[in-house]
């Protein structure tokens, strides 16, 4: 059994392992993002973000991060990138925009960083 060996003691810089602990923390935020698979729900969110977040009972930290479009804050508050991607879509952020926002780069700088690894 790997656990509680390597799997539990490795620290990967800049990387949050989305495990049970994070899932418990982020459940409300991720459930809200999952609801964005429906156009109707995306429109309801866009029409009144605060009311929509209240309806899904987001924590204060989660609401603040969403209001600030703070991706790292959302992850810290338990957000999972697969669900957050649907929220990023509403904000019209590309995957490279999201990469830039998290790494302190402009989108162009982030694209250059990707290209540099070829």
């Amino acid at each position: 059994m790997e656990q509680p060996g390597y799997d539990y003691h490795v620290d990967i810089p800049g990387t949050t392992i989305f495990d049970g602990r994070m899932a418990m923390k982020g459940y409300a935020l991720n459930k809200m993002c999952y609801s964005f698979n429906s156009r109707e729900n995306r429109e309801a969110f866009a029409a009144d973000e605060d009311a929509y977040m209240a309806n899904y009972r987001l924590s204060d930290a989660q609401r603040d991060a969403v209001r600030a479009r703070d991706i790292l804050g959302m992850i810290e508050a338990g957000g999972n990138i697969y669900y957050l991607a649907k929220l990023a879509g509403i904000f019209k952020l590309s995957v490279q925009d999201v990469g830039g926002l998290q790494t302190g780069r402009t989108t162009e700088e982030f694209q250059d960083f990707l290209n540099s690894q070829a």
Binding site: K31, V95, L114
Partner: protein, 281 residues
């Protein structure tokens, strides 16, 4: 009896769906990626598989954290590609092969795989982009085989181990080969290679590790089972864990395979894109 013709791997980046919709295949950004596919088209035209088993990972369309299966197998008459939230054009439904699905589920549960069987399952870009890449115009390509989706959990840790993924493929092979109908099956492993979308390490790509995986998945997949799951996160990136799908595919091909084509390109979107066509002996 049923035969497995071979396996094909590809990344399944959502942007690819948009590039196809906009006909950007000859655009300088996209050309080196799309150049990996004509040989595969030719092979498919020649081999004409009857069924495609598409091993992918759902990204929050078919499953949520309320009930998150480790391994799910579709057993439906058709699979709808539904709205994922960011405006990829939705494709028409893919016809299923439920009799073979149930045969596989029966065999694998007997062999102690704890399958979640799915008689309704919306499929996302992880399933559809590879279909579009291999059968242009999918699902309306005249050679489009009937489909069986298989999804493994890479959203929520604990994800399955690399060994369990390879063993899953071996049990899948046994199941398919025992199907009494004379059909030809191709197995897809989609996702990867190295990429990470989240965190301060977003944009991480690891060419050296990808090339190690590409080499060993062909001829020595067992050695890859020594990689622990967190080591996979560390070396392939948080979403590079999708390589588990390649392991599942590889297990289904048996020991003796021939590599017919390989492509590797950095980057498509945030991802190191890898493509392999492996033919079974």
């Amino acid at each position: 009896m049923a035969r497995i013709l071979g396996g094909i791997t590809t990344s399944h980046i959502p942007a690819v769906g948009n590039a196809i919709a906009k006909n950007l295949q000859d655009d300088p950004y996209w050309k080196p990626f799309f150049d990996g596919y004509p040989k595969i088209h030719a092979w498919i035209k020649e081999q004409k598989p009857d069924v495609v088993i598409n091993i992918y990972n759902d990204h929050g369309l078919g499953f949520f954290l309320d009930r998150m299966p480790t391994f799910a197998i579709g057993a439906a008459h058709e699979y709808r590609n539904e709205d994922e939230g960011w405006g990829i054009p939705e494709l028409d439904p893919f016809p299923g092969a439920p009799e073979l699905s149930w045969h596989i589920i029966e065999s694998m549960v007997s062999d102690e795989f704890d399958i979640t069987s799915c008689q309704e399952l919306p499929v996302d870009h992880g399933f559809t982009v590879p279909m579009q890449l291999f059968w242009p115009g999918a699902p309306h390509n005249p050679d489009m085989p009937r489909a069986i989706p298989i999804s493994a959990n890479t959203v929520q840790h604990p994800i399955p181990t690399l060994k369990r993924a390879l063993d899953f493929g071996k049990a899948l092979r046994k199941a398919v080969l025992s199907y009494p109908e004379d059909i030809k099956v191709v197995v897809l492993g989609t996702g990867g290679l190295s990429h990470q979308l989240d965190g301060q390490r977003a944009g991480f790509i690891n060419k050296e590790f990808d090339l190690y995986c590409l080499e060993n998945i062909v001829s020595n997949p067992e050695v890859l089972t020594e990689i622990s799951r967190l080591e996979l996160v560390e070396k392939a990136g948080a979403q590079g864990t999708e390589f588990l799908m390649w392991m599942m595919m590889r297990g289904a091909l048996g020991d003796d395979v021939t590599e017919l084509t390989r492509n590797y390109h950095i980057p498509i979107s945030n991802t190191a894109a890898g493509t392999l066509l492996l033919e079974c002996a």
